[in-house]
């Protein structure tokens, strides 16, 4: 008698692969829509960045990140101008918002908490010294004229998220607010999670390009300042979309995905 084997591959992180695929396709299409100017790059960041950040909310952390990756690859193929560096851009621009959002929303779980803390520390080390000190002058990079200002501004993008992650805000309040029923607190919870996640995103979003396109420390410092308002604005847009969407999904009668926030 032949043995019947289960496929086991029809779900990812509890979500059906069809959901993950179609949400990925939606993310891919949104790569065609310019959303925000790319401060320190001249191009544009597509609406895809907001949709990939929403993915862990709708599909749960694992399926959300996979869906974001699929969407970024599709976006890269149909809108190459938004991803001039190809797969590298697909990961840095498209997938990382989902990864950091998943970390922020799940920091109350031990494994995600450890991953988030380790990520912030690595980001801190890279952001503080690369590329203006290491490799520095040997690769043609001058040091910032005022290193203290540069480091203080850079600290916003790794130390601030680290403080949020280790504090009760991420460990208790964000899960309580985002999974609760009070609409006002839901907005606050998603906003804090999204802004912190986007702050974490700054270093991998910018630093590789500073290195590849030989940016001067003056431009890097200007980008550090510009993103201080830009990333919270992006976080606010994600929150504005997230709360009604989550509420609509809750009322829709669709089967809930484990780990999703609806």
């Amino acid at each position: 008698m032949s043995e019947v084997k289960s496929s086991g591959g029809m779900r990812i992180g509890g979500a059906s692969i069809a959901w993950v695929t179609l949400y990925g396709a939606l993310c891919g299409v949104t790569a065609l829509i310019p959303f925000f100017p790319y401060v320190g790059g001249g191009g544009y960041l597509p609406l895809l960045c907001a949709f990939t950040a929403l993915a862990p909310i709708i599909l749960g952390p694992v399926a959300g990140v996979v869906s974001a990756l699929i969407g970024s690859v599709v976006g890269m193929l149909i809108a190459p101008a938004a991803f001039p560096l190809g797969l590298l851009d697909a990961i840095l621009v498209g997938t990382l918002p989902a990864v950091f959002m998943a970390m922020m929303l799940n920091a109350y779980k031990r494994s995600w908490f450890l991953a988030a803390v380790a990520t912030c520390i690595v980001l801190g080390v890279v952001g503080m010294f690369f590329p203006f000190w290491v490799p520095g002058a040997s690769a043609g990079f001058a040091k910032p004229e005022n290193p203290l200002v540069y480091w203080l501004l850079m600290a916003v993008y790794w130390l601030l998220p680290l403080i949020v992650i280790v504090s009760p805000v991420a460990r208790t309040l964000i899960p309580k607010w985002t999974q609760g029923t009070d609409r006002k607190f839901k907005y606050v919870g998603f906003l804090i999670a999204a802004v912190t996640a986007f702050f974490m995103w700054f270093i991998p979003l910018c630093v590789p390009y500073w290195y590849m396109f030989n940016y001067s420390p003056a431009v890097a410092t200007a980008a550090e300042i510009a993103y201080l308002w830009w990333l919270p604005a992006l976080g606010a847009v994600v929150t504005i979309i997230a709360v009604p969407l989550v509420e609509a999904l809750k009322r829709s009668g669709l089967p809930k995905v484990p780990g999703a926030l609806w």
Binding site: I17, Y23, G24, P84, G140, M212, I241
Partner: protein, 275 residues
């Protein structure tokens, strides 16, 4: 909303190439671009590879207007890179114009330097070289060929299906997006009449919410279709069209590698010359 670069069938050498050979071109482009090219003397390195890409565009009989679209999309980035490098470049003495005095380190950030502009042009060329390879791949490779190519790379079945299906579903999403936009217009909610701030604040929620709900309902049908066709059963699926790696594919792949090696040789020689 329109997709500027999508697959168009033509009977050309590039279209007939094995998808893995075209993927090799994309990969080699990325590897070339991420190597440090920090002087204008590296121009021949990029010029050789860009010439190869333009040659492939021409062989694939892709309209010149498509290449112009690509340049138009990247124009903002080019202007930014040239301007920023022009004003902030540290190793330039040839001032084109001085707008104001703002000393930062050894350089005046208010002066546009010729050397910086030239360096910005080099960076723009680097970006154009990078961006030229992907549209070529997309416009000459069908979904079926892409699926076979990814399977040959031993990518998991599920991942391959998801990427290729998501790519195919983009058309459906355009239709649904347009359908919802029209429905909202009938209710007096016209996104096209809104300025950027109002659009960010108000426009996306009434469009995105029904879109995601409709999409997930469609996804349930897609899941049933997959299950009824036995997707996910153990073993390798069969292929409708078998794609063989021919001698021609091998020759073209070897040619790509040879051009890439030539670029690297040029790069090393130029770097040695710079000391």
């Amino acid at each position: 909303m329109q997709v500027p670069f999508k697959y168009t069938y033509r009977d050309t050498l590039v279209h007939r190439l094995h998808p893995l050979v075209k993927l090799l071109h994309v990969l080699l482009t990325l590897l070339l671009i991420i190597t440090p090219l920090y002087s204008i003397r590296f121009l021949p390195v990029l010029a050789v590879w860009l010439a190869l890409s333009v040659g492939l565009w021409s062989l694939a009989r892709i309209e010149v207007s498509r290449f112009a679209t690509l340049i138009k999309l990247l124009l903002g980035t080019f202007v930014f890179l040239i301007t920023i490098q022009g004003f902030t470049y540290r190793f330039g003495d040839t001032v084109i114009v001085t707008l104001f005095q703002w000393g930062y380190g050894d350089t005046n950030l208010g002066a546009l330097k010729l050397e910086g502009v030239v360096f910005g042009l080099l960076l723009s060329l680097r970006m154009l070289t990078a961006a030229a390879s992907l549209p070529l791949f997309v416009m000459t490779t069908s979904s079926a060929d892409l699926m076979t190519g990814l399977r040959k790379l031993h990518m998991p079945k599920v991942a391959t299906l998801m990427v290729v299906s998501a790519l195919s579903f983009t058309t459906l999403i355009f239709e649904m997006w347009a359908f919802i936009l029209d429905a909202q217009k009938l209710r007096g909610f016209d996104i096209n009449q809104m300025n950027i701030i109002t659009r960010l604040r108000k426009a996306y929620v009434p469009i995105v919410t029904p879109l995601v709900l409709l999409l997930f309902r469609r996804a349930n049908d897609f899941q049933i279709a997959l299950e009824t066709r036995g997707f996910g059963t153990p073993g390798n699926p069969t292929e409708v069209e078998r794609l063989e790696f021919t001698v021609r594919d091998g020759v073209v792949a070897a040619f790509f590698v040879a051009v890439w090696v030539l670029c690297q040789y040029l790069r090393v020689q130029i770097a040695a010359g710079l000391g």
